[in-house]
């Protein structure tokens, strides 16, 4: 029986290419993560602490933007072709967006890594959030813009495929996977307006010297206009796999197709008008606007809790079909030896824990407790770092054979890899949360101060540092095993059916759900209105306060700043 590569060889080639970019970024980014974990805990410091911020920027950008989004580009291409049961309309367009995104990502990576070689005069040590007045080389902003435009083209490619399908199937419901892709991309189009305006109108001209100053609060707010929805852009591929693939891996069927559609619609509506919750401590935005952002954020718990129910119920369905009984005993009937299943299930479990720390982050008052501490990286290593990354790696064990026609090199190594990731993250993330409560700051190469010691309620700071370093080491080993397994899989002999790629129909199908769920125009319209309501007044107030271009000149990035400080001291 033919698999994806036999049915859609051209699309499979594009998906393979996006996965190669994603996995190369994963390897480099994970290595940077290991360097950081050992550096900031003081165990091994192979680099100067000034260069820590170059590595930190590289780690954030390569993993959170390049790895996740390239995987998304591949997964969504697979999902659209597969669920519409037709090739993409024009493969040249598909390769064009792949070329543009890859070129953009490469330029960004070059701008960041060049910071390690000061003689080049190029650097972008602006961290993942690229807050002005920290200034990067124009290459960074130009590459970022190309990358974003490339993702817009990819979305256009999938919408064109949908339009062609709709012409042939005027009365059918949108296939679930395509529905997920389209709603996610609508959310992405809306939210990337913020980063596009920030980069094209403010940061790029400023880095070229065309304009002298920027308004840092304006560009920060535009960043978070995009910066919170981007976390759902990472998460939606994981949700797509949890909803449409995980039930099958568990031996069951998706519990409810309509509920899955409701969840994706809610993410389209609510992802963007919440960004200000990242700015609870920013002066210059009034408390009232922050309160609105908090309220919207709390509503976002709803689709995640719906997901917890639907996905666990679908797994339970599989377990009971496989003979599982009892209130909790059925958990033992799940296929725990399958690395794709186990990885995704552990990722979901870690996401539940991340939901707790996310609730703390989201509260306007309690956020003060953990703001800018190591708690926050502890939180997002559970969400994007495990719920998303581990689902993508586990999903690859099932997806890559469909793209190559070759079986996975080793399933036991795959199983070890996903378990190792989970264990490593339990150590690292738990210790990061606790260190954050002790007040240890994030984004700091040497988090130690003269005449001051952090104190913990339980255990010691030394124990927390040991856990962070050990956890980081396990995570790196896990990535090495993953890449090794995928690389060796590419040398396997092609076979007719390397994996069972069939997906069963949901228990409760789309036919019983209201047609209005598929009305993408309506949901987009409401999403735009919500964004206008949430952002018009805060943005207006920020511009009124300090002007469109503000009065902040470019602050040199750290390497220059240290050199300048040395001169001043001398």
């Amino acid at each position: 029986m033919a698999t994806f590569v036999d049915r859609y060889p051209e699309e499979a080639a594009v998906v393979r290419a996006t996965f190669v970019v994603a996995f190369v970024s994963l390897g480099i980014g994970a290595f940077f993560g290991l360097i950081q974990a050992l550096h900031r805990t003081g165990y091994v410091r192979i680099l100067d602490s000034v260069d820590y911020y170059t590595i930190l920027t590289g780690h954030g950008v390569l993993l959170a933007l390049v790895f996740t989004i390239f995987f998304l580009l591949g997964l969504f291409t697979w999902a659209v072709a597969r669920s519409l049961e037709r090739p993409l309309p024009d493969i040249r367009l598909t390769w064009a967006w792949f070329g543009l995104t890859t070129t953009g990502a490469t330029l960004v990576a070059v701008a960041i890594l060049a910071g390690l070689i000061p003689s080049l005069g190029v650097s972008a040590d602006v961290l993942y959030t690229f807050y002005a007045p920290l200034q990067a080389h124009p290459l960074f902003y130009a590459g970022l813009t190309m990358f974003i435009v490339g993702t817009w083209m990819a979305g256009a490619d999938w919408f064109l495929a949908y339009r062609a399908w709709r012409a042939d199937n005027p009365d059918d419901r949108i296939p679930l996977q395509t529905f997920m892709v389209l709603t996610t991309m609508l959310m992405w189009y809306l939210s990337t307006i913020g980063v596009a305006v920030s980069a094209v109108f403010f940061l790029l001209p400023w880095s070229f010297g065309i304009v002298e100053t920027v308004n840092p609060l304006l560009t920060r707010t535009l960043f978070w206009f995009f910066g919170h929805p981007v976390v759902y852009f990472w998460l939606m591929p994981a949700y797509l796999l949890w909803y449409t693939v995980l039930p099958k891996l568990a031996g069951g069927r998706l519990f409810s197709d309509p509920l899955a559609r409701v969840v994706f619609v809610l993410f389209l509506l609510l992802s963007t008008p919440v960004g200000i919750h990242h700015q609870y401590l920013d002066p210059g935005i009034s408390e009232g606007f922050k309160f609105i952002a908090m309220t919207n954020t709390m509503f976002l718990l709803l689709p995640s809790l719906l997901t917890a129910f639907t996905v666990v119920a679908s797994m339970e369905h599989g377990a009971r079909q496989r003979g599982g009984e009892g209130y909790f005993k059925w958990l033992g009937a799940l296929p725990w030896r399958d690395p794709a299943f186990t990885g995704m299930a552990l990722a979901g479990l870690m996401f539940a824990a991340g939901g707790f720390s996310g609730m703390i982050n989201a509260g306007m008052n309690i956020n003060y407790l953990i703001h800018n501490t190591l708690w926050v990286p502890g939180h997002f290593h559970m969400t994007v770092g495990t719920a998303v990354a581990l689902t993508m790696m586990a999903g690859s064990y099932w997806l890559v054979p469909q793209l190559t026609g070759k079986r996975l090199y080793s399933r036991p190594i795959g199983l070890l890899q996903v378990v190792l990731w989970f264990v490593g993250m339990v150590f690292m993330s738990n210790a990061m949360h606790r260190a954050g409560l002790a007040g240890v700051p994030r984004r700091t190469a040497e988090p130690q101060y003269q005449s001051f010691d952090f104190s913990t309620a339980l255990g010691s700071v030394g124990e927390l540092q040991a856990q962070i370093a050990f956890g980081g080491f396990l995570l790196f080993v896990s990535v090495v095993l993953f890449l090794f397994n995928i690389l060796l899989s590419s040398f396997e002999t092609p076979m007719e059916s390397p994996v069972d790629d069939s997906l069963p129909a949901p228990l409760s199908g789309a036919e019983g759900s209201p047609l209005v769920l598929d009305d993408l125009r309506l949901w987009t319209g409401i999403a735009i209105v919500l964004v206008i309501l949430a952002y018009t007044l805060p943005l207006g107030s920020i511009v009124t306060d300090a002007g469109l271009f503000g009065d902040s000149p470019g602050f040199p990035v750290l390497i220059d700043a240290v050199a300048m400080l040395k001169e001043v001291v001398a």
């Binding site: 029986m1 917890a308 079909q321 059925w330 296929p335 609730m359 076979m495 059916s497």
Partner: protein, 78 residues
């Protein structure tokens, strides 16, 4: 499907019949003993798990708010 395929490649030496359930990627449905339709399936286990999760969330949130947050008193800057 995967069973047939591996049988076509005996040189690989991994007859799925010798392996524990769930060992092959994506083979979860191979071990299905019974088909459960929508009306036959009652997700009580899911309800149990969600309730346990809610209890954990509530207890941890209360700890974070009343002990960690309020227990520290007012932060005075400057």
């Amino acid at each position: 499907m995967s069973i047939e395929t591996t049988r076509e490649h005996p040189e690989r030496g991994d007859d799925p019949d010798d392996r524990p359930p769930g060992y092959v990627v994506g083979s979860g449905p191979d071990d299905v003993e019974r088909e459960l339709s929508h009306d036959e399936f009652d997700p009580i286990g899911t309800l149990g798990i969600i309730l346990v999760y809610f209890v954990i969330l509530a207890v941890m949130w209360a700890f974070m708010y009343f002990v960690e947050f309020l227990g520290r008193g007012i932060t005075v800057v400057g």
